[in-house]
């Protein structure tokens, strides 16, 4: 009799705990994450949308002012300029970065798959945007930077990389390419690993060159992963702030005033939180639209492997 008691107790506990309902325990387990999610993600999202319809300077409570912020935004030339500058930055940044990353990823796969090489290529990603901005501020200094000294050595005139309105956005785009290139290349590299080697062997038997195989095998098979990489990097790229804040602070004039920096300036320089929130909503809508369009254009159902 006594010997049968423990198993019964255990079974009872098991039916209580394991029989298809752990609601209480589950709630306890997700509670901290749920609180964090609701308080620092859901609530701010809703509040951000609400604040965009108010006049709010942080000190006095927000006052509802309808569409005023949005009307102001549509008429604000600085906003449209910021949008244009940001778009220009994203196109340069993503265009250059994706092409280079694709080439590097293919080379890492076809030349050598050693981990040390991937480690070196990834190193810039380990430092902050601030560090990257700082070191290039020095390298590209007009008078003293090694960048201009090197250009001088091959007979090119000094370039005012970060202080001319023509060069400032391309320069900032390239600084961020430097930091993110290795990371993007490794993402694409991981995608390449999913293409079976037999495909290349078959290509080789047919007498295809490396370049032909790249165009007719690698690119089509990689399309779903490339589209995912693009969605992630484009969203990241639109949020450019750190580099601008450290190097140019929007200048010269407004030529590097990207949207995120303008929002920061309006919110913390002029304490117009309502207007800054409206511009954040605009950015959010742009990001969602772009994600949607990209997803549509590069529909992942084109996976030629499956």
């Amino acid at each position: 009799m006594a010997s049968t008691t423990p198993p019964t107790a255990a079974t009872a506990r098991r039916t209580r705990g394991g029989a298809r309902d752990d609601t209480r325990l589950a709630l306890l387990f997700i509670l901290p994450a749920l609180i964090g999610f609701l308080v620092f993600m859901v609530w701010p999202t809703l509040r951000g949308i609400y604040l965009s319809f108010t006049k709010f300077n942080l000190l006095t409570p927000p006052q509802f002012n309808g569409l005023d912020n949005y009307i102001r935004m549509v008429q604000d030339p600085v906003f449209w300029n910021a949008m244009k500058v940001t778009l220009y930055y994203v196109i340069l940044n993503i265009g250059i970065q994706t092409v280079l990353a694709l080439v590097i990823a293919v080379m890492m796969q076809r030349l050598t798959q050693k981990t040390w090489l991937r480690g070196i290529v990834l190193t810039p990603y380990l430092v902050s945007n601030v560090v990257a901005a700082m070191v290039f501020l020095w390298i590209l200094d007009y008078q003293l930077g090694i960048g201009n000294k090197l250009l001088g050595a091959i007979g090119i005139d000094q370039v005012a990389f970060l202080s001319s309105d023509t060069w400032v956005i391309p320069t900032i785009a390239l600084i961020n390419v430097w930091r993110h290139l290795g990371y993007t290349a490794l993402l694409i590299f991981a995608g390449l690993q999913t293409i079976p080697n037999t495909v290349y062997e078959a290509g080789k038997i047919d007498g295809a060159s490396e370049i032909r195989m790249f165009r007719h095998l690698t690119v089509p098979l990689l399309r779903p992963i490339l589209s995912l990489v693009l969605i992630i990097t484009v969203i990241g790229s639109f949020q450019v702030f750190d580099t601008v804040a450290v190097t140019t602070r929007g200048g010269p004039v407004d030529s590097s005033r990207v949207l995120q920096f303008y929002i920061y300036d309006v919110a913390f320089g002029r304490f117009q939180f309502g207007y800054a929130s409206a511009m954040s909503v605009a950015l959010l809508i742009v990001l969602m639209a772009i994600t949607f369009i990209q997803y549509r254009l590069t529909r992942a159902d084109s996976s030629d492997l499956a």
């Binding site: 589950a26 994450a33 999610f37 981990t115 430092v127 902050s128 700082m134 992963i225 929130s277």
Partner: protein, 314 residues
């Protein structure tokens, strides 16, 4: 920016280095490809060397010897200014700012913030992930879908309202205020760990339950120890990301009390004399700010490199 991780290679990666390499023909194409790769390596690493070279130079000598590849008039002055070992007057004479820089304070702040975020986020996300992967409850999938939708909200959008919230909580200019928003979870961390927990064999767990262990016990004594590899990977990447965070920290911290290294670096830059920046001091500070993550990378290079991949977010 979000990170994509792949849990599988983090556990075992022997296949990576021994996989047969494609044919070794030494054609012009291969030569060009290698030349390109060497260029990529140089461009990736040169800025790090240049930081070191400049940091070890004397600031006033940089004007004359700008194109020397070695340090000009080697001096540890830049580092001395960063660590506050130089007197104000000596710093000004060397072309630096006279104010004191509380480097150790910023380092301490960065460590505290990154540790709080990493420990909290990984642990709480693991608990939530276990609940989504293994516990049976109503609306589980719906709540999980809700969490996943959070992946689509760009962090930039929540920053302003979160600042308002942190201000109302009276946490502006505190380390907790910087850490709090990401201390509980990120949708990505929950998703990543859930995928991994789903892959753990149910049999071990069932056996423990039959032996009378509670589900809480199973989580702490079975699931967590069995997931050391992906949890470490996630923790390292979270640590690096929070260490490098600039925008949010810039909003929340005003004084030395809560200033982290990235923000301090920006402040240090704006303090340098207008006559001509203290480049050797700035580069010393930059290098010192980057160093902890570079060391972390050296220790965990293989794990970090192999962890970047796809875990089937589609």
């Amino acid at each position: 920016m979000s990170i994509i991780l792949d849990s599988t290679p983090a556990i075992a990666t022997p296949a990576d280095d021994v996989s047969p390499e494609p044919q070794r023909r030494f054609g012009i194409g291969r030569g060009l490809a290698w030349a390109f790769m060497i260029l990529v390596i140089l461009v990736s690493l040169f800025p790090f060397y240049w930081m070191l070279r400049t940091a070890l130079s004397s600031n006033n000598a940089l004007y004359a010897g700008g194109d020397s590849l070695l340090p000009v008039q080697p001096s540890a002055g830049g580092f001395e200014r960063v660590f506050g070992l130089q007197t104000g007057q000596a710093a000004i004479d060397a072309g630096g700012a006279g104010q004191e820089i509380h480097f150790w304070r910023y380092l301490f702040n960065s460590v505290v913030v990154s540790t709080l975020i990493t420990a909290g986020q990984v642990f709480f996300s693991a608990m939530a992930a276990y609940s989504f992967a293994r516990l049976q409850w109503k609306h589980r999938e719906r709540v999980f879908g809700f969490f996943l939708a959070g992946l689509m909200i760009p962090s930039i959008f929540t920053l302003l309202p979160n600042f308002v919230l942190i201000k109302q909580l009276g946490l502006v200019d505190t380390l907790l205020g910087i850490a709090l928003p990401t201390m509980f979870m990120t949708p990505f961390a929950v998703f990543f760990l859930r995928q991994f927990f789903l892959g753990i064999s149910r049999e071990v767990e069932e056996a423990a339950l039959i032996d009378g262990a509670s589900k809480t016990r199973v989580f702490f004594t079975l699931i967590l120890p069995m997931s050391v590899a992906p949890i470490t990977t996630l923790a390292i990447l979270t640590y690096i990301a929070s260490w490098n965070e600039y925008f949010w920290a810039l909003l929340v911290s005003y004084t030395d009390k809560s200033r982290v290294l990235t923000v301090a670096l920006g402040v240090f830059k704006s303090q340098t004399p207008q006559t001509g920046p203290d480049w050797s001091g700035l580069m010393a500070a930059t290098l010192v700010a980057a160093l902890p993550m570079l060391l972390l990378f050296m220790i965990f290079a293989k794990r970090i490199v192999n962890s970047i991949g796809f875990s089937g977010i589609k």
